[in-house]
Symmetry: C2
Subunit: 398 residues, 2 copies
């Protein structure tokens, strides 16, 4: 009577490994600035709270497995603002973006099949690839060139007979890169040539700066059947805890298969689907203020770090993260040191070591993901603390 | 670019197959009494609604992967009422009982391993067994003896080197049977002897009649490490749409593995965990009225059907379902006929054909699951319509 092999082998969340050290620092009275996580602090749209306040149904009944029709229709109206025509039946509501990843991975391949993902990438893809028995084939990118995609040949070299899909997350967690139309074109040509699915994780769609426009892979009409988009309200509307995500696809077979998986888990949360409906009914202008707020924070972080000797950063283009190369040998050690052995005026910072975002062994050992999801004032303080820490750490480490 | 084999092969929900026929009947103006589903109609506890109404947090943030501590503590207090001592860290909150099944199946075995389940059984075990690659080995029970468990030897005959667990659902969906302490003892001895997990689906714990007491497998101190209980607030508190379930286990390895799966999907819904907390803070007397209400309905259904010639039913002991044998050759045909070709005074009934609850081929073809989850008055009408329908169907079918 032992726990399954997969239960023993599945990776524990690398982000959570540092939590005990942060707890210990806080217990000592140290203020910890969280540059490690991307939990939005911007208030939810007002109508979301009103949905809860006005709820009057005496029974929380099961809803449809694919999600409430009104919500799916509202999602299509949101995409219509981007000239992306969708039917409600192209949208399948999931229990968070996590479940959208889970169902997508389960539908695009079988055990032993492969999906190519530019690395560094969002850690939780690993857990769902493990669930589905998919092998993630990392496409190595680098901080020096801003995590841009390589030429087509470099991507093509990774394609094997087991390759089922290429997954692109844009705007990217953890790098902050937004793929250009030219980069997308390159990948679109490859999925056509090699008969692959193209999976897009577009949950950070609205977080994009400098007047850039997010191009969705849903805009490529010529590969309608190949496209599966993973989306979520978590970041877009500060509703991480609502657990409302979705799969968007015009491939009827993919939808039908995902729906069968969805039927097994009955339905997504009822009340929070109506909260999501309220959120999607917000005017598009809702995002402008939020974008401006994150843009200011982005500038604080970038301007505060860019001149540190030995630190490599380029200005993130989207999402609210950036991967930086640090002048340290072992970022995991540095991250623990920050929490255990350092403070400035009773303050320190928590960072996310980058190795957790790499599949390739010993990659990212001198890199960290920084999130700019604390208010501007705190972020300024955090940057000051971080600079001082780096200086001291380098002196201590020799 | 094809959908995965598992995506093509996973079973569509058998209960949903009949929905188009029901929709068509309703479109014709026919009143359909739903004896096919177990969605509670009893109002939720008042404090659950108040939780929504009083919600004031401006951001719905991620919570802990294992669920909110207050909720896990409240669950331990609920079990203390049954003299089952638990720690909060024995309880892992999931997105519905569905996810509890999913994680449990993923943790107790690897691809190709086996779990023994008395049949007929809850259909959705199939989907999660498919996800996990587990093989369900059905233990055939029969309506004639009230779906009682067979002697130990009959169960033991199914145990192979790949067997990892026996799963017992009690009170049982779909049969309405509640296993006696003697039946449980029999299985407990077997899991000890053969070094297996014992998985309990106890979501219907509170729905138990005739002064019976539900014995949980958590009460067997001698097999503490072997026990994994799947639980949910869906039926207990009329909160199916809340998607709050849980795994309860005192096996630290099982808990740790399930927690890693839980971390991959981040957290259960935040607001609805607080709603669940309000529900678990209800006094135990809350269940008495509900039990009495279902008991009256049980009597209406049982008394209304028991004297039909050729129909086999024994009084259900728990949950709010019963499997009956009908004097028909093909219950799927009968179920469609009820919706398409029959009505009495503009009314008909919808039933759940039993084959969907059997893994063994061609079993249950003359059986149906009936749920008594409509109000007493409607249930009386439904029974009258059902009797008339059976009579007519037999006449028509010769």
């Amino acid at each position: 009577m032992n726990v399954s092999k997969r239960g023993r082998e599945i990776q524990a969340s690398p982000i959570r490994k540092l939590k005990p050290y942060a707890d210990a620092a806080k217990a000592k009275g140290i203020k910890v600035y969280h540059l490690n996580i991307g939990d939005p602090d911007i208030p939810m749209p007002g109508p979301v709270l009103e949905t809860f306040h006005n709820w009057s149904q005496p029974v929380l009944a099961y809803g449809p497995a694919q999600g409430a029709l009104e919500l799916r229709q509202a999602v299509t109206r949101y995409f219509a603002n981007y000239n992306i025509p969708l039917e409600a039946d192209d949208v399948l509501i999931t229990c968070g973006g996590s479940e959208a990843i889970h169902f997508t991975f389960s539908v695009i391949g079988d055990v032993g099949d492969e999906v190519i993902i530019p690395e560094p990438y969002y850690t939780n893809y690993n857990g769902y690839a493990a669930f589905a028995g998919l092998r993630i084939v990392p496409l190595p990118l680098s901080v020096e060139n801003g995590f841009r995609l390589p030429p087509a040949e470099a991507i093509e070299a990774l394609i094997t007979p087991r390759t089922k899909a290429i997954l692109l997350c844009s705007p990217n967690n953890p790098t902050g890169t937004v793929y250009t139309p030219e980069e997308l074109d390159r990948v679109v040509a490859l999925v056509k040539k090699h008969d692959l699915f193209l999976v897009g994780d577009e949950v950070y769609k609205e977080f994009i700066y400098d007047g850039r426009r997010h191009k969705s892979i849903l805009e490529y009409e010529g590969i309608r059947e190949r496209v599966v988009v993973i989306d979520s309200i978590s970041k877009r509307f500060s509703c991480c805890g609502a657990r409302i995500g979705m799969i968007i696809t015009r491939n009827k077979d993919v939808y039908a298969a995902a729906l069968k998986f969805a039927q097994a888990r009955l339905c997504p949360p009822s009340v929070e689907q109506m909260a999501a409906l309220a959120a999607y009914n917000m005017p598009m202008s809702y995002f402008a203020d939020i974008r401006a707020e994150y843009d200011r924070r982005r500038n604080v972080l970038y301007e505060g770090l860019k001149d540190i000797p030995g630190l490599v950063i380029r200005k993130p283009e989207g999402a609210f993260y950036v991967i930086v190369r640090l002048p340290v040998k072992d970022v995991e050690h540095f991250a623990v040191w920050l929490l255990s052995d350092f403070s400035l005026d009773g303050q320190t910072v928590m960072i996310a070591p980058a190795p957790g975002f790499y599949a390739t062994a010993s990659q990212g050992t001198d890199e960290a993901r920084l999130a700019y999801v604390i208010n501007e004032n705190d972020l300024r303080k955090a940057v000051r603390v971080f600079r001082a820490a780096l200086e001291k750490y380098q002196a201590v480490q020799g």
